[in-house]
Symmetry: C2
Subunit: 188 residues, 2 copies
């Protein structure tokens, strides 16, 4: 088998960067080609389904990343507050301190029949459900727990938008520090 010009991991990293920065429509094959170092035709060899395929794989991978690194600690040992602080640390590196914007945001624009959008929706829904589990350890109703989970996701997304627009990463940092309170309530 011939040697690959760029290995799978790095290829997906760069692909992710482009989709994150420019969104689905903004991520042209020219930009993708430049960012990955692969010609258009080579990209079609790796992703027979074309651009849509690329976005799906990128989204799937980010979801696994999130699940393994960010959500996994939530089911681990330690008090709920400790586990949430662990998640906050992972989130910090996941979003590069607020400098990386969220694929769930950038890929959620466009028409409703967009093939990518349902994947985005599933991703965020799964995330909410996972956070709601921990929130419920704070001995609140399922409904309240779900609300807290939604609030946490909202704050993550919101601080990332603010970071991207006005380039101030303070809100993102503060939001991570407040995550235990957000998800569990007053008691830390």
């Amino acid at each position: 088998m011939p040697i690959t010009k760029v290995n799978e991991e790095e290829l997906l990293d760069r692909l992710t960067d482009v989709f994150r920065t420019y969104g689905y429509d903004g991520a042209s094959l020219s930009k993708i080609s430049e960012a990955t170092g692969l010609q258009r035709a080579s990209l079609y060899h790796r992703f027979p389904g074309g651009k849509e395929d690329m976005a799906k794989v990128v989204l799937e991978r980010a979801g696994q990343w999130l699940f393994n690194r960010v959500l996994a600690p939530l089911s681990g040992p330690g008090t709920p507050a400790q586990r949430i602080r662990n998640m906050a640390n992972e989130l910090h590196s996941f979003y590069a301190g607020g400098q990386n914007c969220c694929l769930l945001d950038s890929l959620s624009f466009g028409s409703d029949d967009n093939a990518i959008r349902q994947h985005v929706q599933q991703g965020m829904s799964a995330w909410v459900n996972e956070l709601a589990k921990v929130a419920q350890e704070g001995r609140v109703s399922a409904k309240k727990a779900r609300q807290k989970a939604q609030d946490a996701i909202s704050q993550i997304q919101g601080t990332l938008v603010v970071a991207r627009v006005i380039k101030d990463y303070g809100p993102f940092e503060r939001m991570l520090a407040e995550l235990p309170t957000t998800l569990l309530g007053k008691q830390a």
Copy 2:
């Protein structure tokens, strides 16, 4: 003067819709033409600067809308909490209960040298400053007031992202109800 096929206000309304939904890159001239009922050349008659011109005008108009309807009540009569509740009501209609996403989000993607992005940044910065003024009426330091303002904007943006992705408008509604607390602290 020949009669206009579509008057300025309605033209800008539809234009705003397209940019909101698809972002700058996703808003192709074909989509814009279809949404407005005007041919490409007609659009260039109305906006000599082309697509970038359209986006600027749309952004400028949204900014004025925000300033006149949403931010103005903040300097009006009544207690700070009352004025913030007024703003929340205006925000509710401004974003159609969470169904309209924010131009500051959709137009903030793309490369850094994007001509639109600095307009977006100025818009959000002005918004933060305005909110910080009210927050400071809660007798807190300028720094704390600015943080509260940023938190409020973050929550607005975040709940709108969540609404767009998973089509749940609960977080947006709850966030509006909590705005007085968010901006002023415990005392309402």
